[in-house]
Structures are given as structure tokens and as C-alpha cells.
């Protein structure tokens, strides 16, 4: 069966989402695997959102915010960065490959960079294969052995 990765992307309203929008209005072609969720600021992202995405079957999770210093709310992206780094360590401990979780800064003018980022991440996940969180939970429900 052809594996088509699902990547859940949390994009901040002010930079990254506008950047993704620019990729669209510029008619750039990029991998259709990304499901974009717009949030007001990358600082709003809680680890819960990302863990839930994995549990619901995401093969990868992408978080994008404004470049350091550019946050619309002054320092939301720094907060995101700190949480992200801690979460990344936890996620690796839980047996989820590091490549499945990515944080990148995308400005409103970086439509091209966004398209490239999605292509790169999709390729990396294609190489890894499907995420195993759901499969593990399904096994768990057999409750035996």
C-alpha cells in the first residue's frame, strides 16, 4: 500500500500562516500531506495539542512561528521554543522518532521556504514510515500477551 504521511502543522496567524498563504497565492507546488491548523501564536501551543495529534494518527507534527524577535506578541515564539525543546526530549523518550516533530520559523514573506519545508519533512517521514503511536494503542487494547 502506498504510504501517504499525514502531517499536522500548527501555524501562527501572523507569520507562518501568512507564509503558507503566500505559498498558495504564489501557486507553489508542494506536498499535499500537511493539514494546517491556524493558531494565534506559536506560544499558545501546548504539549497536549502535539501529543493528541500523534495519538489521533499524525505521522508528523510541524510547528511554525515567527522568527525570533518578530513575534507579534513580543515573545510567544520564545516560549514555544522552550516548551518545544522539553517536549522533544520527552517525545524521544517515548519512542517517537525525532524527525516526526519539527519546529521552524517562517516569516510572512517566506512562502517558498514553507513549501520547501513541507516537502523536506514529507520526504523524511516517507523514509521513516507510518507513525506507530496509534498502532501501539491498538495493540494495547488486545490487553493480553
Amino acid at each position: 500500500m502506498n504510504f501517504r504521511p499525514t502531517i499536522v502543522a500548527f501555524l501562527c496567524n501572523w507569520c507562518a500562516y501568512t507564509g503558507a498563504d503566500l505559498a498558495g497565492t504564489s501557486r507553489l507546488h508542494y506536498a499535499p500531506n500537511v493539514r494546517i491548523i491556524r493558531i494565534m501564536c506559536s506560544g499558545r501551543i501546548e504539549p497536549t495539542f502535539i501529543l493528541k495529534a500523534f495519538k489521533e494518527g499524525a505521522d508528523g507534527v510541524l510547528v511554525c512561528g515567527c522568527h525570533p524577535g518578530d513575534c507579534h506578541y513580543q515573545e510567544g515564539n520564545y516560549k514555544c521554543l522552550r516548551r518545544f525543546k522539553l517536549l522533544e526530549k520527552f517525545v524521544c523518550q517515548m519512542g517517537i522518532e525525532k524527525e516526526r516533530l519539527k519546529l521552524e520559523w517562517i516569516s510572512a514573506s517566506e512562502g517558498k521556504q514553507f513549501a520547501e519545508l513541507v516537502n523536506e519533512m514529507t520526504a523524511a517521514i516517507l523514509k521513516l514510515g507510518p507513525g506507530k503511536v496509534q498502532k501501539t494503542l491498538e495493540l494495547e487494547h488486545l490487553k493480553t500477551n
Partner: protein
């Protein structure tokens, strides 16, 4: 004869699954109040204190037990069987203690698979000599017949992943005075909280009750493990750089660990409205790290040696991911 005297006594059962026995002891820790409990209720089943067989419980009529306190996680087929039997026989089934509530300490086994655990326990431990690699099997034929032991599951489950649970009383173990409060509400039988509630605990976090000095802006440059630093006994642990689970833990225990100058370990589970204490804790701690430089952040986080084990000490099976991905 007044109605009060004819009112039948409640039937109470206490059972342990994968537990250490501490929860049963917390029932005994009600001290002389235990006499009040016994005055209001007949203990019909309590393996740690009474000689009664499983088949006696199995032969009780359905819904004949008024209240069952189930402590311990579900680790093997015996735990699961008794959880199902007690669900059927009980009017109110309470997940009593952290293990029944979210998996607890036995739930840390979900960081490994059953195979890994067996390999470590029966082959690799320093004190083991087992050249034939003998491991437990569930059934063996001897000349008198078949001997059977319960099957250990691959995973540890909180009680509500196996049967429906009416109430949860968190804690490792739950504070005995809170048990008495809950027991009096249930024995009165009026104003019962909605099914599925966490009872015997507060809605807000431990920080809300903690008396240590706290500033508005928590900023941490370096994390310490508790033995690496001299606690000043009055400032918030996190502000001193020691990770305390207070921000992601439900209050109700009376902040006993912090009162005893030890950081909160999170046994009361997440506060109201949150399902995953570890994720909450990562959100809280992440924001407190005092740096904007990626390399420095890495350095600060390095001091948190085992975030998964630390933040999910009592709650791994009940958390969003539930176990390590296999």
C-alpha cells in the same frame, strides 16, 4: 422502631489489583474513625484483612455491594477478572488511589514491553542465574492436574480502561481524612457528585494551597535535583530550581510533601479540566526556563534528566500516549 435503626448497613468492599498495599493501609489509617465506618458499613470483601475467597464474591447477587474501593492498577488477568466481577457486584465502584486512577507507580512499566521486563527480571538482573531461560508460564501440567497462574499483560491499565468507574479518589495513598469525607457523603446517599468525578480532592492545583513564598515571574536558569541544592525551606521549590509537580497536580493532600520540605511528586493527578499532567508540566516548566538562546535552553534542559519518568511518575497509563511507542 425508628427508620434509622431499620436502615440496613452499607456493604463495603476493598480490593487491590497491582498495588503495594499502601491504599489498604490508608483505610486502616483512619484510626478510630474506622470504627465509625464499620458501624455504618459491613465489610464484605477485603483480601488484606479478611479471609474470603473470590468464589464467595462471584456468588454474591449483582449490585449487592454498595461501595467498592478498588485500589491498584490492572496488570494481569486476575486483576481484570476481579475488576469485572466487582463492577458487576457493586452499586458504586471507586478507583481508589493513583494506581487505579491513572496507573500509578506500577504504570511506569509502560515504558517497557512485557518481553523487555521478562528479559530483565528473569535473565539479566545481577542476582539471576537462569541458564535455561525459564520464564513464568500461565499453565502447567502436573500429575495432580493443571496449575494456573494469572497472565501478565503487556501493559498496565488504569481501572477505567477496563471497566466503568463511578468515582476517583486520587493519592498515593489517598489521605485518610478525605476518605472519611467521601465515605460519609456516599453513606448519606444524598447530594452525590456526578458520576465520573474525582472526589476527595480539590479542583485547583497544589500551588494554590502551598504556603511557600512565590513571585509572579518564575524564571529558572538552572534545574537541580533535590539532593544538589540546600532548600531554604520557604521559597517555592521551582523558583529554587527544583522541579515540583505542584503546578500540574490537583490539590487535596494538604501539600504534605512540600510541608515536609520535599517537592510534590504529582500523586494526586492532573487538576480539573486537564487529562495529562505531564503535558501540563512541560508547558509550565517550558515557560519558566530563563533563556531565549536555543543552545542555552538545551543546556538548561539537560539538567532534567528524565522528563518522562519525572512528569508521568503516577500517570503514564492514563496519559495521552499511555505507554512508550513500540
Amino acid at each position: 422502631m425508628s427508620q434509622e435503626l431499620t436502615k440496613p448497613k452499607l456493604k463495603l468492599a476493598v480490593y487491590w489489583g497491582a498495588a503495594c498495599g499502601g491504599c489498604c493501609v490508608s483505610v486502616l489509617d483512619t484510626h478510630e474513625k474506622l470504627l465509625d465506618i464499620v458501624a455504618a458499613a459491613d465489610l464484605v470483601f477485603w483480601p488484606i484483612a479478611m479471609d474470603i475467597k473470590y468464589k464467595d464474591v462471584e456468588s454474591m447477587p449483582d449490585k449487592s455491594i454498595d461501595l467498592t474501593l478498588f485500589n491498584g492498577a490492572v496488570r494481569n488477568s486476575e486483576n481484570k477478572h476481579m475488576a469485572q466481577v466487582l463492577r458487576q457486584k457493586s452499586k458504586i465502584l471507586v478507583a481508589y488511589g493513583s494506581c487505579a486512577y491513572m496507573g500509578g507507580i506500577p504504570g511506569l512499566a509502560n515504558f517497557f514491553s512485557k518481553n523487555e521486563i521478562f528479559k530483565r527480571a528473569y535473565e539479566e538482573t545481577e542476582s539471576t542465574v537462569n541458564p535455561e531461560k525459564t520464564v513464568p508460564i500461565t499453565s502447567v501440567q502436573v500429575k495432580e492436574g493443571t496449575l494456573e497462574i494469572p497472565l501478565m499483560f503487556n501493559d498496565v491499565f488504569p481501572l477505567n480502561q477496563v471497566v466503568e468507574v463511578d468515582y476517583y479518589i486520587p493519592g498515593c495513598p489517598p489521605q485518610s481524612e478525605r476518605l472519611i469525607e467521601v465515605f460519609s457523603v456516599i453513606s448519606a446517599g444524598t447530594n452525590l457528585p456526578p458520576a465520573g468525578s474525582v472526589v476527595g480532592a480539590n479542583d485547583k492545583t497544589n500551588c494554590d494551597e502551598c504556603k511557600r513564598k512565590k513571585s509572579d515571574k518564575k524564571k529558572v536558569k538552572r534545574f537541580y535535583r533535590p539532593w544538589e541544592i540546600q532548600d531554604d525551606k520557604e521559597t517555592c521549590f521551582i523558583e529554587q530550581g527544583v522541579i515540583c509537580m505542584g503546578p500540574a497536580t490537583r490539590g487535596g493532600c494538604g501539600v504534605r510533601c512540600v510541608e515536609g520540605n520535599s517537592p510534590c511528586r504529582g500523586c494526586y493527578g492532573p487538576p480539573q479540566g486537564s487529562s495529562d499532567p505531564g503535558a501540563k508540566m512541560m508547558a509550565a516548566i517550558g515557560t519558566m526556563i530563563d533563556s531565549n538562546d536555543p543552545d542555552e535552553i538545551d543546556e538548561i534542559i539537560e539538567a532534567i534528566v528524565d522528563p518522562a519518568g519525572l512528569f508521568y511518575r503516577f500517570s503514564l497509563p492514563g496519559s495521552i500516549l499511555g505507554r512508550k511507542v513500540l
